[in-house]
């Protein structure tokens, strides 16, 4: 039977006293054990001790120690254990096998965390303090129990603590409470597989200052094996500045009109703006970390890596797949035409490619509409050409019969004519010829105005053309009793021009001059003007007709204008002559001008460049 003292020692011992079976099942769990490990007697009872208090990675070592102790009957060692909730602490462990029926194992645990910390501090400070004070980064050394063994001045300043204030504190005090629980797990994990790496890769990490404010951090961890066990060295970097720049960049990205997708060298999406989310119908969360191929139609995926490789081989801003039709793929599987411009983005993680993507569906629709409109216009123009040719042909065919038979009658091939018959046939004939010239002028104009009047340049003997024209028009002048003179130029070389247009203009000018002159003379003259480097050929037609008033000169070259409406009856004409002549002159690079005074006469000049 146990005495009261013995019971006191078992229950009231400040060290945790635990009795287990030889296979480790708890049979006694002292009040001090409850206080130390946090598990109630009921909860602990029957559990395997090592599973309850040894971190997973230390369980094997603990088991070996137990086996050794049972062999020799007793052992004393140091260990790291954890309590309910996961925080680690240092313990001195005494273990003893007690013979009996059945035999049991007696455990005594003494919390030496603070002692251990002091030893760690002493050891680590002596060895590393000078070194760590000289590094630019805030650096903390943390032991497996999560206690800060060493904090350099940079770390104290970063977190807002006084010198020495951090020593011995749990590292959890430097973390926002929302990370505390997870951090213990991460730390245990880390000590289980210690290697140099950055902390919480891909996660956003925050530090907590003494004054309670948070700031974004980047942490790199490296294990340091010491005689006193492993400590972990964490270099902590405040990345507020970088975050701010990133925020700014994101802001910029969001303000861009285009969808932006930023992709790394392997084609993984690292950043998208909300325009891209809307355009493709995918959420940011879905897209980040995915291959950019999810935005590319299946049939185009094969050539995508080549395009990307091509870009990284020569990273400079440019349009993607120039000359190729590019398409995007929406989340609902539909495709749409896009235009993409690429630019390289230098970052700390290497070169990324930033792509601005524009949906050009609307533009494609407009382009197509324009193209169709163009075809329509082309066919309309072709139809107009056909119409003109047909009209010309169809109008001439009946004119042939009218003019022809009027002619045969007037030639008296069908028999003699009375004076009345002859006069009336004469009227038919001149009306028909007038109608014909009207048709000719209109067709010419239509052709010029639809740019269908072709110009055929050839060497033209200007004097010969003028002579031909005057010869054919001389009878008109003779009939009116006016003098008609031709002043030829002296041996001028041929002029390169369109013969038909040139003679058409001359016929018109000479015809007009005779038509509007009642007495006096009409003089046709050709000469050559040289001004500087430029030579031109001038054909002038001077008459002594009624003349044109200055205000009428302005309307002279308009269509269907015969100036004196009272004279319209007297002077037969289409009203298209000067209008057409001016168009023809422009067509062959020339100019038509008029100089006139009322009652004296007019001079028309056609000027053609040589």
């Amino acid at each position: 039977m146990a005495t009261d003292y013995e019971r006191l020692i078992l229950n009231e011992n400040p060290d945790a006293v635990v009795i287990t079976t030889t296979s480790g099942e708890i049979v006694h769990w002292s009040p001090a054990a409850v206080a130390m490990f946090g598990y109630s007697r009921e909860l602990a009872s029957g559990q395997r001790l090592q599973e309850l208090i040894a971190p997973a990675d230390l369980r094997e070592a603990a088991g070996q120690r137990l086996a050794a102790a049972l062999d020799t009957g007793a052992a004393t060692y140091e260990a790291v254990h954890w309590r309910q909730g996961g925080s680690l602490f240092n313990l001195d462990v005494s273990v003893r096998r007690i013979a009996g029926e059945p035999p049991v194992v007696l455990w005594a645990f003494k919390d030496v965390t603070d002692l251990k910390l002091l030893r760690d501090v002493k050891f680590v400070e002596g060895k590393y303090l000078v070194l760590l004070e000289s590094t630019p980064d805030a650096t903390l050394m943390v032991n497996p129990a999560g206690r800060i063994v060493l904090a350099n001045g940079q770390a104290e300043r970063l977190f807002g603590y006084l010198p020495g204030e951090l020593r011995g504190q749990s590292v959890d005090t430097l973390l926002p409470s929302r990370f505390g629980k997870a951090h213990v797990g991460h730390r245990a994990n880390y000590f289980a597989h210690p290697r140099t790496r950055s902390m919480g890769a891909g996660l956003e990490l925050y530090g907590l200052r003494k004054d309670g404010t948070e700031f974004p951090v980047e942490i790199s961890l490296s294990p340091l094996a010491t005689d006193e066990g492993t400590v972990v060295m964490s270099a902590v970097r405040d990345i507020s500045g970088r975050k701010k720049a990133e925020q700014k960049f994101r802001g910029l990205l969001e303000s861009a009109p285009d969808a932006m997708v930023i992709v790394d060298r392997t084609g993984v999406i690292v950043l998208v703006n909300s325009q891209a989310e809307r355009l493709f119908g995918h959420s940011k969360e879905y897209l980040l970390g995915k291959s950019v191929d999810v935005l590319v139609p299946d049939r185009l995926r094969a050539r995508h890596p080549a395009l990307r490789t091509g870009f990284f081989a020569d990273p400079r801003p440019r349009a993607m797949g120039e000359g190729q039709e590019l398409f995007g793929l929406r989340s609902d599987g539909t495709e749409f035409p896009v235009e993409i411009s690429l630019s390289p983005l230098e970052t700390e993680d290497g070169v990324l490619v930033s792509s601005a993507i524009r949906d050009i569906t609307d533009r494609r629709v407009i382009e197509r509409a324009l193209h169709e409109k163009n075809l329509e216009l082309q066919s309309a123009a072709a139809a107009k050409d056909r119409f003109l040719a047909t009209m010309s042909h169809e109008l001439r065919t009946p004119m042939n019969a009218i003019i022809g038979y009027t002619g045969t009658l007037m030639m008296r091939l069908a028999g003699p004519l009375t004076p009345d018959q002859a006069r009336q046939l004469g009227i038919i004939q001149s009306s028909a010829k007038h109608l014909l010239s009207l048709i000719n002028d209109l067709l010419d104009l239509a052709k010029i105005e639809s740019d269908k009047r072709e110009v055929m340049m050839e060497d033209v003997d200007v004097d010969a053309v003028i002579e031909e024209v005057t010869t054919s028009l001389r009878p008109l002048a003779d009939k009116k009793g006016i003098r008609f003179r031709l002043e030829k130029s002296a041996d001028l070389p041929p002029l390169r021009t369109d013969r038909r247009a040139f003679s058409q203009i001359v016929i018109n000018l000479v015809g007009n001059a005779i038509k509007f002159t009642e007495s006096g003379e009409v003089v046709v003259k050709a000469r050559r003007d040289v001004v500087g480097q430029n030579a031109s050929r001038i054909v002038s037609v001077k008459d002594t007709g009624c003349g044109i008033s200055p205000e009428n000169l302005q309307r002279l070259f308009q269509a269907f204008t015969q100036l004196d409406s009272s004279s319209t009856r007297r002077h037969e004409g289409t009203g298209l002559g000067l209008y057409l002549s001016q168009k023809l002159a422009a067509l062959i690079g020339g100019r038509l001008t008029c100089d006139s005074s009322v009652g004296v006469g007019s001079t028309f000049e056609l000027s053609l460049p040589e």
Binding site: S392, T397, A401, G404
Partner: protein
């Protein structure tokens, strides 16, 4: 006096040309299209052929090609009389092998002389 073959699908205009030519003493055979004209050409010799361009069945150009393919028969001057009077039509027809070009409407007082000139040109060239 010459023997003239006049080919024209428009009846009134055919009659006009026949009338003018016979009035000036020429002997005229008429054909309403190229096919009939080819048969006439194969049947008897002519001093001149006057031919419209736009005709049904066989147009002026086809007719010209058809009689040209008959190497054993000497071909008289062939003059196109056409209402195709747009720019370039004349050049195109002369290039196609017509010996002359007269645009419609014809000038009745000079029409026959114009045609006779083409015959005389040929005679002069042959002498």
């Amino acid at each position: 006096m010459a023997r003239v073959l006049v080919v024209e699908d428009h009846e009134v205009n055919l009659e006009l040309m026949r009338y003018l030519l016979t009035s000036f003493g020429h002997d005229v055979v008429t054909a309403p299209d190229g096919e009939v004209a080819v048969r006439a050409f194969d049947r008897e010799p002519f001093d001149l052929i006057v031919c419209d361009v736009h005709m049904p069945k066989m147009d002026g150009l086809q007719f010209l090609a058809a009689i040209r393919s008959r190497a054993q028969i000497a071909i008289p001057p062939v003059v196109a009389v056409t209402a195709s009077a747009m720019v370039g039509d004349r050049e195109q027809l002369l290039k196609a092998g017509f010996n002359g070009y007269v645009s419609k409407p014809i000038e009745p007082t000079t029409f026959v002389q114009q045609l006779e000139a083409f015959m005389n040109e040929r005679r002069t060239a042959e002498q």
